[in-house]
Symmetry: C2
DNA sequence: ATCAGGCCTGAATTACTGTTCAGTTCTTGG
DNA sequence: CCAAGAACTGAACAGTAATTCAGGCCTGAT
């Protein structure tokens, strides 16, 4: 055999793979999942349609990896924000705020990843994505319960409900469309975070304080 | 002209239209939106595929009416339950419980109506459906606020968030799959209703009482 | 009984994209 | 520079359902 995968080739292959994924991500962010089609993505990534299939067995696999990628980023951001908080309740507030800010700043992408109809079956990876995020939120709720800040409860169900509330209120079809008013965006984040904290049993007064603290660092992100 | 639409003919036409809609509804309840296809529906309704198009201009219109129909039923049930409650807070609890019980007892249909991918565009009717239900919940929240039972808040956003929480926790992909255990179903309804009430500012202790009261009449439905 | 007119049928058409693959181009070690 | 093998191309293919429509059928007034 005279052809070997040299380091250079490996790097180029990886770069192409990334380019294809990035093209898919950009398409989704611009035109929703309906815009994620093989031919346009190939054009965007400067390859032929057939080439996409040398990197992903099918469109479903491509989208699944897209979902997994976005989900990983999201999870990392949540952990970072929560770990930086001074206590369990603050951590929960930070986690919720992070989710809210993220979905708001990338609404179209978030909607595509979460719930938008796709012509192929990506149920499994969407499920995995939600399970990861919900699990993280659940463990933060659990920590607050163990610290005695919240009443005992079904934390998994509570986490799922919280995410549902955030998504529906901020990126769902009824979400107010205040895309470019930073003030309104911040208000929406605060309102929804407050609802979420109260839902798991934080008292109104204390919840309001936590929200204010949690939104401070997030403001930067909203601006970005 | 020798042919007139006599009363008898009008009745038959209406019956056929209903039969087609019912077939669509049954298909959705059994196999989700993916099972809502013209040919199978036509078979179910005892007509030819082409006939469907004499009653509905397109599949999108058919599904839109299906959504509208289910939505009307839902709204009526919510109003009935809420109006029968003794006060604004109880009414809100009753409304939330009704939604929870309904989506649980028809999970597949609910998922199809709410969020399942469809190959045609039904965004508009889904939006209208949500708007109606959310509006009703919002007005119940508003009533409780005006009665001084809840803190002032963005009731529209709160209603949207509540519905998101209910749907995600009970029919979403992460919803626990306890389809046939009445006890677990009741638990789920109670848990989620409690979360919802606390989210809008009902104190934990009072919320627990409201939930118990609201679930009493709903138990019958869960059993059915 | 007759026929004018809408109603129904269901096979054929259409439209759309994901997927394939034979041929071409590129990369590497000798 | 050459041979071997991999990667890439993009036009052709294929599967799926929604939608159409020419012809037959039924209904109702005369």
């Amino acid at each position: 055999m005279v052809y070997r995968r040299t380091h250079q080739v490996v790097k180029r292959l990886a770069a192409r793979r990334s380019a294809i994924l990035a093209a898919a991500r950009d398409s989704a962010a611009e035109g929703g999942m309906a815009a994620v089609q093989i031919a346009p993505i190939a054009v965007r990534a400067n390859v032929a349609a057939g080439t996409v299939y040398r990197y992903f067995p099918s469109k479903a696999d491509l989208i699944s990896e897209l979902i997994a990628e976005v989900s990983r980023d999201e999870l990392a951001a949540i952990r970072r924000a929560a770990d930086a908080a001074p206590g369990p309740s603050s951590a929960l507030a930070a986690a919720v705020t992070t989710v809210a800010v993220h979905v708001l700043s990338q609404r179209r992408l978030a909607w595509g990843i979460l719930a938008e109809p796709v012509d192929v079956d990506v149920t499994a990876s969407r499920l995995a994505s939600r399970r990861e995020i919900a699990g993280e939120i659940a463990s933060r709720i659990d920590a607050a319960v163990r610290a005695g800040h919240l009443p005992a409860q079904d934390t998994a169900l509570a986490a799922t409900a919280l995410l549902g509330a955030l998504h529906e209120a901020l990126v769902g079809p009824l979400a107010p469309d205040n895309t470019d008013d930073p003030g309104r965006l911040r208000d929406a984040v605060q309102t929804v975070t407050l609802l979420a904290l109260r839902a798991v049993g934080v008292l109104d007064a204390r919840a309001r304080g936590l929200v204010v603290q949690a939104v401070l660092p997030a403001k930067v992100l909203v601006g970005a």
